[in-house]
């Protein structure tokens, strides 16, 4: 996720990982374009959250919970609901995380996941209105890292998407200035399903879904968000200051288009109808 060059990685580890890559191998035996095992569970907080999911990629695990709350719209968009995504890199997940307010890498994580959701127009926010200009549904999707072994972005994006698909919330309407529950349960109005794919550049190699050790020796990383129509809706180069060639970026784009389909299907399958 973040830039961990401050944590000392030994010369042997660095040489070992890069040497393996030069021989066409990765530390866990995966191909350069292969994801680790992905597991998604939804409805894990059924009694208190409107929607929830735990996404696991290898040994990285993220939980997402959705709360839907009636509230006020932003003044410049009175006909739209509000969607907010936050992320916490909680110290429970790794000896590398500290307690305290979110650092830049946690903020970057939240914003990259948010951009994937927002730019793909995953949620039809015009349908989140209770009373135009006065009351709308506010959808909060909050992410917590439970275990960290590299590639928080993709795991968080999967958890967020699955939790939003899982969400059911009580409908309310305005009656005599009061919010009254109708007896209906609503789903979040969805019109797209974004997926994010993250690559690590190490030397002259591009690897998909880096583990922590790979992130620690990477020159940089590239995340690409792909929507259901194969549009790119967000890109982020981060995780280190190394430059990346356009040719490598194109390679990443093609791989993202290919792999996103598999992930999207896994997300859909995980949700109980």
């Amino acid at each position: 996720m973040g830039d961990f060059s401050a944590e000392v990685i030994s010369h042997i580890d660095r040489a070992y990982i890069r040497g393996l890559l030069d021989k066409g191998q990765r530390t866990d035996g995966r191909a350069f374009d292969e994801y680790r095992e992905i597991e998604i569970q939804t409805g894990v907080v059924p009694a208190k959250a409107e929607g929830s999911a735990i996404a696991r990629i290898g040994d990285t695990r993220v939980i997402a919970g959705v709360k839907v709350v009636p509230g006020e719209p932003y003044s410049d968009t009175p006909d739209e609901g509000v969607v907010m995504i936050t992320a916490e890199m909680a110290p429970i997940a790794s000896p590398l995380f500290e307690t305290g307010p979110p650092q830049e890498d946690a903020i970057e994580l939240a914003r990259v996941v948010d951009r994937g959701v927002r730019e793909s127009e995953m949620i039809d926010i015009k349908k989140l209105i209770i009373s135009e200009g006065k009351k709308v549904y506010m959808v909060f999707c909050d992410l917590y890292t439970l275990e960290y072994d590299g590639n928080l972005i993709d795991a968080s994006a999967i958890a967020a998407a699955a939790s939003l698909l899982d969400t059911k919330f009580p409908e309310v309407k305005v009656e005599d200035g009061e919010l009254i529950p109708t007896k209906n349960m609503l789903r979040i109005p969805l019109q797209n399903l974004p997926v994010e794919c993250t690559f690590s550049k190490i030397g002259k190699h591009l690897v998909l879904d880096p583990v922590l050790k790979e992130e620690m020796v990477q020159d940089c990383r590239l995340t690409i968000a792909v929507d259901e129509q194969d549009n790119f809706t967000a890109m982020q180069k981060g995780g280190g200051a190394g430059p990346m060639s356009l040719a490598m970026m194109e390679q990443a784009m093609d791989l993202a288009l290919e792999k996103s389909k598999m992930i999207r299907e896994a997300v859909r399958k995980s949700v109980k109808v």
Binding site: V8, I9, S10, H11, I12, D13, R14, A15, Y16, L20, K23, Q25, G29
Partner: protein, 254 residues
């Protein structure tokens, strides 16, 4: 009601009553009211009239004489600060590593990121550990790979009189240095052999508290080596004995 209250190889938990009467408490246990209780999750053991609990987990706590593999994380004056795992960071003074006279800027010799094999010179809980590189086999490592395992499992990985580690090295023709701090340096001829070695060590780490483990690891290696070599038949045993820590030409010892 005196006596022993645990079975051979029983996994005991903190607070569990182990013995009452004329028994002494040792590592991993404590006594209260003439009884000995476990302080850890581990295997309870009786030696004479001493009861101890061998932990199945735990961080590395240094002991004098331990061989450790560490990474330089900082250079401070005439000292290198060395990460050896666990809560106590090691300190290596230039006088214990270099021949005099040496340059003021000791990072010229060893710098951040270097992996060093050291010995623990001194440690008590209020200060240290202090490390040394004077001694046979103590040097900087530059190739191969370093595997992290739980320090509590290292004795099992070595085995009695080296039986386990030597069995693995014989099978696979690898060179190893086993650090008491849970780090194992491995140099192998190829990637497949390396993966097999890692698998063997991880298997021991996982099953350290079970019996007949040496046989099972041996069988696993025999099976897998055969698959690798593509021949029927047993592994190639190496006739000559090898030291646990390998000696080789040392260009960078000062």
């Amino acid at each position: 009601m005196a006596g022993i209250f645990f079975q051979k190889r029983e996994v005991v938990v903190p607070g569990q009553l182990l013995a009452e009467g004329r028994y002494r408490s040792s590592a991993g246990t404590y006594d209260a009211d003439g009884k000995v209780f476990s302080a850890l999750v581990g295997l309870a053991e009786l030696r004479g009239n001493t009861v101890k609990v061998v932990p199945l987990e735990g961080v590395y706590i240094p002991r004098e004489g331990d061989l450790v593999i560490g990474t330089v994380v900082m250079v401070a004056g005439n000292n290198w600060r060395i990460d050896i795992g666990g809560p106590y960071q090691g300190s290596l003074h230039a006088n214990n590593a270099l021949r005099r006279p040496y340059d003021e800027d000791i990072s010229k010799y060893y710098d951040i990121g270097d992996v060093l094999v050291c010995e623990v010179l001194a440690f008590d809980r209020t200060s240290g550990p202090f490390l040394s590189m004077r001694g046979r086999g103590l040097r900087r490592l530059t190739d191969g790979m370093v595997l992290d395992v739980s320090p509590a499992k290292i004795p099992r990985i070595i085995g009695r009189r080296g039986s386990m580690i030597n069995m693995i090295k014989d099978h696979l023709r690898i060179q190893t240095i086993v650090g008491q701090n849970g780090r194992i340096w491995i140099r192998s001829p190829d990637v497949e052999t390396e993966r097999l070695a890692i698998r063997a060590f991880k298997m021991i780490e996982d099953q350290a508290h079970t019996s007949k483990l040496t046989d099972r690891v041996n069988s696993m290696l025999r099976e897998e080596s055969t698959k690798l070599k593509g021949t029927g038949g047993g592994p190639k045993y190496v006739a000559e004995a090898k030291d646990n820590d390998d000696m080789e030409d040392n260009n960078d010892e000062y």
